[in-house]
Subunit: 367 residues, 2 copies
Amino acid sequence: MTIDPVKQADLRVALGERSYDIAIGPGLLSRPDAYAGAIHGRRVLIVTNDTVGPLYQQTVADALAAAHDVDVLALPDGEAHKTLGTLNLIFDRLLEGNYGRDACIVALGGGVIGDIAGFAAASYQRGIDFVQLPTTLLAQVDSSVGGKTGVNHALGKNMIGAFHQPTRVLIDVDVLETLPPREFAAGMAEVIKYGLIRDSDFFDWLEANMEAINAREPALLIEIIRRSCANKAEVVVADERETGQRALLNLGHTFGHALEAELGYGTWLHGEAVAAGMCMAADTARRIGWLDGAQVERIERVIAAAHLPTAPPAELESTRIRALMARDKKVKAGELRLVLMHDIGAAVVTGAHGEALDATLNHYFGH
Amino acid sequence: MTIDPVKQADLRVALGERSYDIAIGPGLLSRPDAYAGAIHGRRVLIVTNDTVGPLYQQTVADALAAAHDVDVLALPDGEAHKTLGTLNLIFDRLLEGNYGRDACIVALGGGVIGDIAGFAAASYQRGIDFVQLPTTLLAQVDSSVGGKTGVNHALGKNMIGAFHQPTRVLIDVDVLETLPPREFAAGMAEVIKYGLIRDSDFFDWLEANMEAINAREPALLIEIIRRSCANKAEVVVADERETGQRALLNLGHTFGHALEAELGYGTWLHGEAVAAGMCMAADTARRIGWLDGAQVERIERVIAAAHLPTAPPAELESTRIRALMARDKKVKAGELRLVLMHDIGAAVVTGAHGEALDATLNHYFGH
């Protein structure tokens, strides 16, 4: 598979009256026409954080100024602030400003901002419009698409939230120029995930092009984002509220969420935990007999080439990780369910293969 | 219209895959078959308050015990506790107890419990099942039907929430025996409302039967609840997310919410504020020329017969009430919209008739 340099890609997420477009390209944030049709009322509240805001909020406000009244709310940056308390700061601002049901929230930032601003839009007056302007690779290829919104609880990540689709997603690849290397790598974990769960051609292509991707060549950035979003959109359209195959998008996440919780949120980035989690899932699949050793090595090699961890920290305890995994949203009738690969590009949701899982946990951790 | 004594009435709210049944009758809370089919998983959390819980939670738990693992969470009673903070107590319990996405919340109480427990069900893991067991007349004829859930914010009532339909509503009329007279009357405000907005036959019937209703004759209780729920269900089915005619259910509420906020939540009951608000709406409609004086008098007479106020407290200030009314969720592009009657049984949503509204506010209040 070769890549023709493209200037812009557009995708449509076809969800009936909740359908929306994803635009991917350079310089989108500053283009008034990129927002046209996605914001129905006059008033707009840009919700951002104090890291991203200073870089781009003026650009966005200027692009919207001709057609809208624009205000900005900058939240403190970081996963630690993805709480009900921070959510309430958005409600405070909306209510102090007398925003009506025809207001629109524009989420400018990474996954934390998209999730919390999206949940505010879902809940304010039982639902107002919102637009996603993701500024990290992770948010661009994953969290900004699909309508999952929410906040964390002290006892679990993303445990409180709503399904609420944006009216548009604008993915401006120029913002990736300033993204720190560790955050770029964290986004690549989700990119690789799409190859592993349902797109082996994409996995092959990633394997062959990782060097150019790491160099952030624009045409390749657009391609990895387009292909990732296309994969995600197909899954979401088939199963918007995660009653079935949407759970495949959780490959590596049951392990990863447990790692994040045990290490303390923010110690490892979400993508780093997912990367290690995907390697753990590959290990479990090998123990069941679904993957062979060569495939597992290949997976680990691609993940390592993206500058991501291929194993969790060895000092953790398996009993604690196991207990945290039991909090997973895929648990049904008390039984843990995992996303595991039958093959590269072919994942399934499966009831716990208890022995294989135990062996994996014992392989990576102490007791 | 005469009433045949009925033992039980059943209604269906036809919302596609979100359809559900409303059962109305005596002794429903204690009947295991009444819950059958509405609770899909094993685990149930009854959410109630410390007033209603002691009266009925054991009855409900016993009815569910054969088929489910049941736990109870009793919240502090009262509108003052309908907050994000109290909501979080429900999330705490669900997460501490490792409740999965297949758990069910059973809301046992009045409108506050139904709204907050329903919003918890809407938001926990982005949505779990819930069953409504309304224990006040107000909740039975209004808030338990239609899927509106939410909490209050210091700057506005019901400003944070979700549309989330229950899987069943069980309306046990026996619980009305212990309902204080003032709360019974407050529920009657919403009953009268259905007559005023869309069902003039029902209004006539209420006018003729108010004495027997106030005596809480069981057959009449079942009839007022059935007729109210049927009216509400028809409106909700036509407009689940309130983009159009569902707003008619807000007759008297734009005035009423402002009264509640200005008096301090809990000073007047919601139904009392709505009753006064409906009289104010009738006054505005008369000033426009839609209702005549005789109709307004008739409306006031029925509301008074239900032991409800026909006017707001005169010591309030019109400028403050006006400002609070501007927070209404029906405000669009900055313009206030009101629900007003063209006739008894025929309400419409209308752009502000500024002069008539001003005259109404000046009639009831100082400046």
